[in-house]
């Protein structure tokens, strides 16, 4: 045994190394062993592009900080020839703090590097594992602690209290009644046996309630039998960002259980990349829950309503030039790139692509929960130069995205780089483009005209 081996370890370091053994799924192990250090992923990372000449931002460099622990403690190569495979260990809490700054502060888990890797290394997967291991011993950025505790204990990641949530829904209902001059318009809560149970991001309650009333307007015009839930309504999941699978499972099961209790047929998830991924893709595994109902993003719901003739839209109501920002979780983790564009073209006159786009688009800088980690704001905004250049080159006045997290990330980048662009979501544009019976339409969407009266649904 070497001298280093005789060093004593802090209990936190012990637990982290121990815990790693239990987290090594086939997918994670595959990514940990596969890297050949070819460097093909380097230029794909927005941190690298914003910090030229600094190799410490390279995906493989960051990955090696985790990989060395795996090699030393869980892989035979690191036991036989540690010097060759660069195996290493951690002993002190300070070393864990340094690791924290890398896994939380220098990677947004955007998975762009994965798409450049010929070996299929998925850094975000084991970066999330490393985050989870640190969180399990209480080492995490302050904001991650605050948000995680909120979501564990209040059921939503912004600590919105039940009475405030319900009051906001009532307020939005009144606004909508005034806007449509129709006192029968409602935002139903806890209605059983509905076709749609609509779940949202707590950010909508706290900072952007207009997205709730816009969605309600669309459901109303589509004559949808829908409801919101009084509890289990938060479709976001900080467990995806913090790496805490128990939180992931707890949040997801609260949502699923409520839909079951209400006997809802479809859970519609409002626009949010990580919320969709967590609820639709990861949640059933975290929660070990056999979900008996359909789960869909509201992007698909709105598109369906137009195609089925349940709502009519007039794109001339949205004349400003717009560009679409792909949320990393939608585009790279869920493969959803075309439907939002199809919808956007139906409701906006002037749509311009940013380059690169779709699965190759760059992170808004707010991925992986970065918006909650104020200690890394300077680095995050510096990395935002990549996004800022992309946005500016489109000449668009409005950036559209399907993610509340991206709205915040983009707004911050736009403010920092003084781009003077607006940020909005599809729900706002669709609601604005709605042709409501009795109100004159300027135009009809070409190719999607439907016969008069066919939007009347039981």
């Amino acid at each position: 045994m070497s001298t280093t081996e005789k060093q004593t370890r802090s209990w936190k370091a012990e637990r982290v190394l121990d815990g790693m053994g239990k987290k090594l799924s086939r997918q994670i192990t595959g990514s940990l062993v596969a890297c050949v250090h070819c460097g093909m992923c380097t230029e794909s990372c927005h941190y690298v592009l914003a910090n030229p000449g600094d190799p410490t931002y390279a995906p493989a460099y960051k990955a090696d900080k985790i990989r060395r622990l795996f090699k030393r403690h869980h892989d035979w190569t690191g036991k036989v020839f540690p010097w060759w495979v660069k195996a290493g260990s951690v002993y002190t809490d300070e070393e864990l703090e340094e690791l924290k700054d890398i896994v939380f502060g220098r990677c947004t888990n955007c998975r762009r590097c994965t798409f450049s890797c010929p070996m299929g290394v998925d850094l975000a997967t084991f970066n999330r594992m490393a985050r989870g291991l640190l969180v399990s011993v209480g080492i995490m950025p302050e904001g991650v602690a605050v948000v995680s505790k909120d979501q564990w204990e209040t059921g939503n990641q912004m600590g919105v209290l039940k009475e405030d949530y319900l009051e906001t829904l009532e307020w939005m209902e009144e606004e909508l009644q005034d806007e449509l001059d129709d006192p029968t318009v409602s935002i139903p809560v806890d209605q059983p046996d509905c076709d749609v149970v609509y779940s949202i991001n707590p950010r909508e309650v706290k900072y952007d309630p207009r997205t709730i009333s816009d969605a309600a307007k669309i459901f109303h015009v589509a004559r949808e039998k829908w409801t919101m839930a009084s509890e289990g309504w938060d479709m976001t999941n900080f467990g995806l960002f913090s790496g805490d699978d128990a939180l992931g499972g707890s949040v997801a099961s609260r949502l699923y259980e409520k839909v079951n209790e209400l006997r809802g047929k479809t859970l519609v998830i409002s626009e949010c990349g990580h919320g969709f991924r967590s609820t639709r893709c990861e949640g059933p595994n975290w929660a070990k829950f056999d979900v008996p109902f359909v789960m869909e993003s509201s992007i698909f719901t709105m598109l369906r309503y137009i195609k089925e003739g349940r709502i009519k839209v007039d794109k001339s109501k949205n004349p400003k030039p717009v560009t679409y920002h792909d949320s990393c979780n939608f585009a790279r983790s869920c493969g959803i790139t075309e439907e939002p564009r199809e919808l956007l073209h139906l409701v906006c006159e002037d749509v311009r692509e940013m380059y690169p786009n779709r699965a190759e688009n760059y992170c808004c800088t707010g991925g992986g929960g970065a918006m909650s980690m104020s200690e890394y704001t300077r680095e995050r905004l510096k990395s935002g130069v990549v996004k800022a250049n992309q946005l500016e080159a489109t000449g668009a006045e409005v950036v559209v995205t399907s993610c509340h997290n991206c709205v915040d990330g983009l707004t911050d980048v736009i403010r920092h780089y003084k781009l003077g662009m607006e940020v909005t979501q599809l729900v706002n544009l669709v609601a604005n483009a709605l042709v409501i019976e009795g109100k004159p339409a300027h135009a009809v969407v070409p190719g999607l005209e439907v016969e008069a009266g066919s939007n009347a649904q039981a």
């Binding site: 209990w11 637990r15 399990s136 011993v137 209480g138 602690a145 605050v146 948000v147 995680s148 505790k149 909120d150 564990w152 204990e153 209040t154 059921g155 600590g159 209290l161 039940k162 509890e231 289990g232 128990a246 939180l247 499972g249 707890s250 099961s253 609260r254 259980e257 409520k258």
Partner: protein
């Protein structure tokens, strides 16, 4: 979700109920908040306590901070339905000697409840959830501590264990059923 599905295990003359509810809204003499060392209420249930209860609670805590692991302190509950809040500083995040520390936190919590003459007391799954204490261990230690305490506390008539989710519910139901089949009376 505010349904009490597991009702009425009798333990040394007291009723122990399991509910899935917001602990800060319960109508009890005292409820327990799993506090931090500096007694800053912070997020989660802390937000609910400070928003619903008003500023008097944090003000009272200022004079009581800091506390060591295993210690607890009592404040009023401001505008909340409860009369008192027991702020208990327990172990967190897989720290060493977890079980012993959790047990002494529970003992101190129950002493605080006795001191204020609580006849009804609500407890969360102490340290489970955000602080990562394993739920099965949490349920076992809490119920053992309650079992021992209730032998000598005649004032406490009702104990409500308020959990956050299904895994916590299952762990406590199993522990309560084991107690019911064994020592509960």
């Amino acid at each position: 979700m505010s349904t009490a599905v597991f009702e009425g295990t009798r333990l040394h003359g007291a009723t122990v109920r399991l509910v899935r509810d917001d602990i800060t809204e319960l109508d009890v003499d005292a409820f327990v908040f799993y506090a931090s060392h500096d007694l800053i209420l912070g997020s989660g249930h802390g937000t609910a306590i400070s928003v619903r209860g008003g500023p008097s609670i944090q003000k009272e805590l200022k004079a009581l901070a800091p506390l060591e692991t295993g210690q607890a302190a009592v404040t009023g509950a401001g505008n909340l339905k409860a009369k008192h809040i027991v702020h208990a500083v327990g172990p967190r995040f897989r720290e060493p000697d977890l079980e012993r520390k959790l047990r002494s936190t529970m003992d101190e919590t129950l002493r605080c409840a006795r001191r204020v003459g609580a006849r009804s007391l609500a407890l969360p799954a102490m340290g489970a959830g955000y602080y990562g204490i394993p739920t099965a261990l949490c349920a076992r230690v809490m119920l053992q501590a309650l079992d021992d305490h209730l032998r000598s506390d005649d004032a406490l008539e009702e104990v409500v264990i308020s959990v956050l989710d299904t895994p916590q519910w299952e762990a406590f139901r199993a522990a309560l059923e084991a107690l019911d089949g064994g020592k509960a009376r």
